[in-house]
């Protein structure tokens, strides 16, 4: 099989992995070394594909042969997709050739399980080792970890990669059991814990010694599939928040379950729920940067996020008693909860506040979406009418109008990275 065909098959097989991020590696350059590559700390998107996603890495599978039968996966053993297999040398060469032409920041390598988890993991590590040791490659490497592989191999992976990830895919043990019989939640969590240890140790080393090795995993991430099972947004966000807390994951990716070729009949055959995915990313963002708890974002009687409005606005409408917020006196954590106020604008407001009191036109200049913020704020020259905050339904109707039917499955503009 020629290289073109292999690349086509193994890129196709990798495209359901949402992650392509390249931020958060250990900064380094290749100046003064015989090698090539650098990591600047902030990722670069070298291209964008028609699905609006960033292309930052050469994202391929080493092979899409797999002995597992995870029903949501296009590469599962019982699927009839065309199969191919790269040699480690081929992946190394492709990575270097693409890197030299400035197409990519580095490599994101994953694999179907062939022969055994250890054998597969050994192959993945071999590619990273060749790049780092033989070619002194100093660009970015993200390795997908095979959960069942032995500790020694996982440890070696964290020495060469900037990021390692284990895809949890399904948020509950029961879902895993039903759709991914070979996966085991406890095992996944144990591996994540192990990886966190390696990351922490490496960070400690770097803090103490300047001569600490320049390559060492600095972060780990995972992916959850949305819409393949009945799991609610509440469950998904709850799972994410424990993952962020217990394993210090830098990202949880949400991937709208998209019909795959050769799909199993246990799965929905519907367009991917892109709007739901979008709302989950927004909610995730609120948990990480806006001080929201997972439990605040949904309600027991409505465990899914409202698709018609962003989760912060939905939260504000459920908590009208906390509004209006005085822009000139409120503390930072409360300003962050105002619909339409982003982190950057909150900081600008706080800075401006030291010199003069903030008025409505200042917010307009900062390009705050006023229609969204107005009912919830007070400035030195503006107070919302009292009855506005008393009629939740009327207020809600301002944001969700009948003539403004949004396409719930349509494509929201979303930066994934």
């Amino acid at each position: 099989m020629d290289l073109h065909r292999k690349l086509a098959i193994l890129a196709d097989a990798a495209k359901y992995d949402a992650s392509c991020a390249t931020n958060g590696g250990v900064k380094r350059t290749s100046r003064g070394t015989p090698g090539i590559g650098s990591v600047t700390g902030t990722g670069i998107c070298h291209s964008f594909t028609p699905d609006g996603r960033c292309v930052s890495l050469l994202k391929v599978l080493l092979t899409n042969y797999c002995i597992y039968d995870c029903l949501y996966c296009v590469n599962r053993v019982s699927s009839d997709v065309p199969r191919a297999r790269f040699t480690p040398e081929e992946v190394v060469q492709l990575t270097l050739d693409f890197y030299r032409r400035n197409y990519i920041e580095g490599l994101f390598l994953s694999s179907g399980i062939v022969k055994s988890p250890d054998y597969t993991m050994e192959q993945l590590v071999a590619v990273a080792r060749k790049l780092r040791v033989e070619h002194e490659f100093r660009g970015y490497i993200h390795l997908k970890t095979i959960v069942e592989a032995s500790s020694g191999l996982i440890e070696e992976a964290t020495r060469y990669a900037d990021r390692v990830s284990i895809n949890m895919e399904l948020p509950t043990s029961a879902d895993l059991q039903r759709l991914a019989p070979e996966k085991n939640e406890a095992r996944i969590r144990a591996s994540m814990g192990e990886i966190r240890q390696h990351i922490d140790t490496a960070a400690e080393e770097r803090r103490k010694h300047k001569s600490a090795p320049p390559f060492a995993a600095a972060s780990q991430s995972t992916q959850l599939i949305v819409g393949a099972t009945e799991a609610s947004d509440h469950t998904l966000l709850q799972t994410s928040s424990t993952l962020y807390r217990d394993y210090k994951l830098s990202r949880v990716y949400y991937s709208a379950f998209s019909p795959i070729p050769h799909a199993s009949s246990k799965l929905p055959l519907a367009p991917p729920p892109l709007m739901r995915e979008h709302r989950l990313y927004q909610a995730d963002w609120l948990m990480r940067y806006y001080g929201f708890e997972a439990t605040e974002l949904t309600e027991p009687r409505a465990p899914n996020l409202d698709l018609r409005m962003d989760p912060k606005l939905a939260w504000a409408l459920r908590n009208l008693h906390l509004f209006p917020v005085n822009v000139n006196t409120a503390p930072r954590h409360m300003l962050l909860r105002v619909p339409g106020f982003g982190v950057r604008n909150v900081d600008r407001i706080l800075q401006s506040r030291r010199w003069h009191s903030v008025r409505l036109h200042d917010l307009v200049r900062l390009k705050v979406p006023m229609h969204k913020a107005l009912p919830f704020i007070e400035t030195s020259d503006y107070t919302p009418r009292a009855q506005e905050l008393e009629h939740v339904e009327r207020l809600k109707a301002r944001f969700v109008r009948g003539d403004e039917q949004i396409d719930l499955f349509g494509a929201p503009a979303l930066k994934v990275g």
Binding site: D69, V77, N102, R365
Partner: protein, 470 residues
């Protein structure tokens, strides 16, 4: 209105601004005129005068952050930038020294916008420069053609030198070119697109990769174009395929869904096969002929039940009937059956004393043209069919079961089995000893690096163990 003529670089503007500031000229009294050639700048102010001006301007305290912002803003292509820079400088030095800390001030907002446009343009260059491989004498040389919106080439010299340290490279732009020989950066006058080399084989691989890494079921052209500006397209090799990919995406998705729809069966379509209690082999066979436990019966020709003597000591279990078996109604009569017969003969085993059956008793396939292409049975089909296999094994009580391939092994042992690892080993199942080996059809689909002869020998070696174990 007084004209200030200056060389349009940060340094040129700074000298002129210093002097204007020293003379106490307010922003509204000035008009900024860019000089096209650098020499003419000398005509305007005598060396003496500018020296005096510099001395005066040192009385003004100018925040360091302003200088940093001004250096960046000077690279912007807007002719308005000089007047804006002076306007902000004037305010900073006339009672508003903290001006930059007021992010809602309209002048500050405009200044920041220009700064961020330049930074974004520099970022785009780091992202969208595409090198092409060529040679300079014997040495590999990587050359890119790029058209920045602002004067951001030099801003990126550190980035490219630190990243592509061991490469000889050049970035050509209309205004200037930047070169790296492995040690130092040099600049030369501007070039044209024709000076850059043509794409090579790697570029084709890149376009191939780009075409396959996106999901046609979730296209978002607006999201893409918000990031990949149309004006960048002309210098990106992958941009040539964007339009065709967008055009084809809906058709590809529809075709995929239609195909899945065809193969799709609802979970409720699956039951469990119900073998009659206390039936003998013949009765089982007739009952299985009408089995509707899974939907495979709809497309298959007939049920292919097991075959062999009632007193067989050894039972061979395959995956499912193939095209030939489905037509003949007998197990292992097609190409895989040929391989099996061959191997059995070499192992010295008489097939007539064996009972031969399959884990799934209907043929699962996908029509492709006039052909019926084999498809691996799904878990549900294996589970639905298992009661038949169970009934056969309970009745025959063989001393050894041979599981041919992963499907058979999974069905008998009720757990995923890695055949490549377990082959040749005798495992315990609820029905007794079970020898695991390959399915003979695996020998018909060997990857090119495997030798058929050697693989067949290994298969025969596994089968020889049957005699020892039985």
């Amino acid at each position: 209105m007084q004209q200030v003529r200056f060389e349009p670089t940060f340094e040129g503007w700074r000298n002129a601004a210093r002097e204007s500031l020293a003379r106490g000229l307010p922003p509204e009294a000035l008009s900024w005129v860019e000089l096209t050639s650098p020499q003419s700048a000398l005509d305007l102010t005598s060396a003496n005068e500018s020296h005096k001006a510099a001395a005066t301007s040192s009385q003004f305290r100018i925040p360091r952050t302003y200088i940093e912002i001004a250096k960046t803003v000077a690279l912007h292509s807007s002719p308005r930038r000089w007047a804006l820079l002076y306007h902000v400088l004037w305010r900073l030095t006339h009672g508003e020294s903290k001006l930059l800390e007021v992010p809602v001030d309209p002048d500050v907002i405009e200044l920041m916008q220009l700064e961020s446009a330049v930074k974004k343009d520099a970022y785009r260059m780091r992202a969208f420069v595409r090198f092409r491989g060529t040679r300079l004498g014997e040495e590999p040389w990587f050359v890119a053609w790029y058209e920045p919106e602002h004067d951001t080439l030099a801003l990126n010299q550190k980035f490219f030198a630190e990243r592509f340290a061991n490469m000889r490279w050049s970035i050509l732009t209309p205004a200037r070119c930047m070169h790296w020989d492995g040690t130092v950066i040099t600049f030369s006058p501007g070039a044209r697109k024709v000076h850059a080399p043509a794409g090579d084989g790697v570029e084709q691989l890149w376009v191939e990769y780009y075409s396959h890494i996106f999901n046609p079921a979730r296209i978002k052209p607006a999201a893409m174009q918000a990031q990949l500006l149309k004006r960048n397209w002309k210098n990106l090799p992958e941009a040539a395929v964007i339009e065709p990919l967008l055009r084809e995406a809906p058709r590809r998705t529809a075709a995929m869904i239609a195909r899945s729809e065809f193969l799709r069966v609802r979970e409720t379509d699956y039951g469990l096969a119900q073998p009659p209690v206390g039936a003998d082999l013949q009765e089982l066979r007739s009952a299985a002929a009408g089995c509707r436990a899974c939907p495979l019966w709809k497309t298959a020709t007939c049920t292919v039940f097991g075959e062999g003597p009632r007193d067989a000591h050894i039972v061979l279990v395959g995956e499912q009937p193939g095209d030939g078996e489905d037509r003949a109604g007998k197990p292992f009569v097609g190409p895989a059956g040929q391989v099996l017969n061959d191997a059995l003969a070499q192992a010295g085993i008489d097939r007539r004393v064996l009972y031969v059956t399959n884990a799934v008793k209907h043929f699962k396939f996908e029509p492709r043209g006039k052909r019926r292409m084999h498809m691996t049975p799904a878990q549900q089909e294996i589970a639905a069919c298992r009661p038949w296999l169970e009934a056969e094994l309970r009745l025959l009580e063989p001393s050894l079961i041979v599981a041919l391939g992963a499907t058979a092994a999974r069905s008998i042992l009720q757990t995923p089995v890695r055949v490549t690892q377990e082959r040749g080993r005798v495992l315990k199942s609820e029905f007794g000893s079970t020898l695991v080996t390959l399915h003979p059809s695996a020998l018909l689909r060997l990857p090119p690096d495997k030798d058929f002869r050697a693989e067949l020998d290994a298969f025969v070696a596994d089968l020889r163990k049957v005699r020892a174990a039985a």
